[in-house]
Symmetry: C2
Subunit: 277 residues, 2 copies
């Protein structure tokens, strides 16, 4: 085992994060992408897709709680939930903990991401075996096109808008999501960093706003994503995340999300507000 | 001019941030430390002390607003304010904008940090010439020891707790600050990242809590600091930052801080709450 290996992600063309590694656990080229699993000193085991950090054992709870719980707790009765992408199972884990969820469907295009996560990230992927979970190894865009009036909540847990995930940031896809949701449904998508992905955030926010009557952006700190500040955009047909009864939010033993952070995450610094005008 | 130079900060022994540079503007060894100024593609001009990022043009507003404004706006009448460290002038800039401030004293041990910031970071340092500002090139520890019942608000804008700043994280120093404050005074210190400086945060929080009746920690996102999540700890003799009248908070044309974020920044994720128990 070679000592002294560092993994470096070029987060933008001018900024890189490097993590010292203990060992490389797995590498393969799947039909869709390069899948790697590396153990790091600072963040523990880490899943990479095409050399980009997807999740790490140390900080994964922030992203997974924050992509799932604000949306779930905005809906008064989130019985039927869909995750697009998210093959590591982290969003599913948060979803099946919710007392009102009856069925959670994972639609992940790359079955190998699921297999590798099951083997190397059991803390994150364990809920994929929950009896409430159905796993579809399928194209999320196609699944959305074929689903009508079906889901209460949809979480778009995609990779960055390059390669296989480009279509998950397109306006036609958001229209498809609208149609796949029930008449009071809502959805959320990860939408990158307000420090370095300004144009993407503006475009996606306006596209979603053209389709959904209620559109809101919120923020969370994910240390292993560029700039440590990550945005999520929610589109909702009926329910406003800021009008939730705080006392209705169940305590699911979270490490980042709380019933206060549910509301506070939507209170944006002016430099982020400006992007949405 | 050599092309393709990257600056790398080893943020912990296992994690590094790298930024592509345009040019090196300045380097000197002062009596206290290495002072460097580098222009970067991602964050603009950047001040380094002993090779550690202090501030950058692009993200400086977060740190400077958040070290100054929560404390200033917690005090109903912050007439006389002291900044220890902070030779770049960013905290002072936010302080002199506040309508109730009559005098702002900067006590910076290294006069060269002030000179270099005046030359290369005018956007940050310009307020150092404000008639309300007095600049002391002096040891903050000594200045605190000699000040009694003097200040309404003190901001400890220090470097990391290594080298010249070690004494600024010591319990005796916090007792000195208590004595240097008026009977209803309060102070704030930058206290590193809750992801990678857990032991420091615990110790400092408990030391301040032993001395001040009101002790609170709050958070902000600073992309160029390790993990992108930075903590500040406030010790107050009388005023509670969470009991401020929201309508009393002046609008000083901020880019990160708002009257909502004043309160929200104190609502901690459970993984940070745990450090303070």
């Amino acid at each position: 085992m070679v000592k002294g290996l560092w993994f470096t992600e070029l987060q933008t063309k001018n900024m890189a994060l490097s993590l010292k590694t203990k060992q490389s656990l797995h590498h393969e080229s799947s039909e869709f992408q390069e899948i790697s699993m590396v153990d790091t000193y600072e963040f523990g085991r880490m899943l990479l897709l095409d050399g980009i950090i997807m999740t790490t054992i140390k900080d994964e709870f922030v992203y997974h709680e924050m992509i799932a719980l604000p949306a779930l707790n905005t809906h008064p009765n989130p019985k039927n939930v869909l995750v697009i992408g998210g093959g590591d199972g982290g969003a599913i884990r948060e979803i099946v903990k919710h007392p009102k969820v009856e069925k959670a469907t994972l639609c992940e295009i790359d079955g190998q991401v699921i297999e590798v996560s099951k083997k190397y990230l059991p803390e994150i992927s364990a809920a994929l075996d929950d009896p409430k979970v159905e796993i579809l190894v399928a194209d999320g865009i196609k699944h959305i096109r074929e689903s009508k009036n079906t889901y209460d909540v949809i979480c778009v847990d995609s990779t960055d808008p390059i390669g296989p995930a480009v279509g998950l940031f397109a306006k036609e896809f958001y229209q498809g999501i609208y149609d796949a949701l029930k008449e009071d449904g809502l959805f959320v998508a990860q939408t990158e960093s307000p420090w370095v992905n300004e144009e993407l955030i503006k475009r996606v926010y306006n596209d979603i706003k053209d389709i959904f009557p209620i559109t809101k952006l919120y923020l969370a700190n994910v240390p292993t994503y560029p700039t440590g500040l990550w945005s999520f955009t929610m589109g909702s047909k009926k329910y406003d995340p800021l009008k939730v009864d705080k006392n209705s939010i169940p305590d699911t033993n979270t490490k980042y999300y709380t019933s206060e952070i549910h509301f506070n995450a939507f209170q944006l610094p002016p430099f982020v507000q400006k992007l949405l005008k």
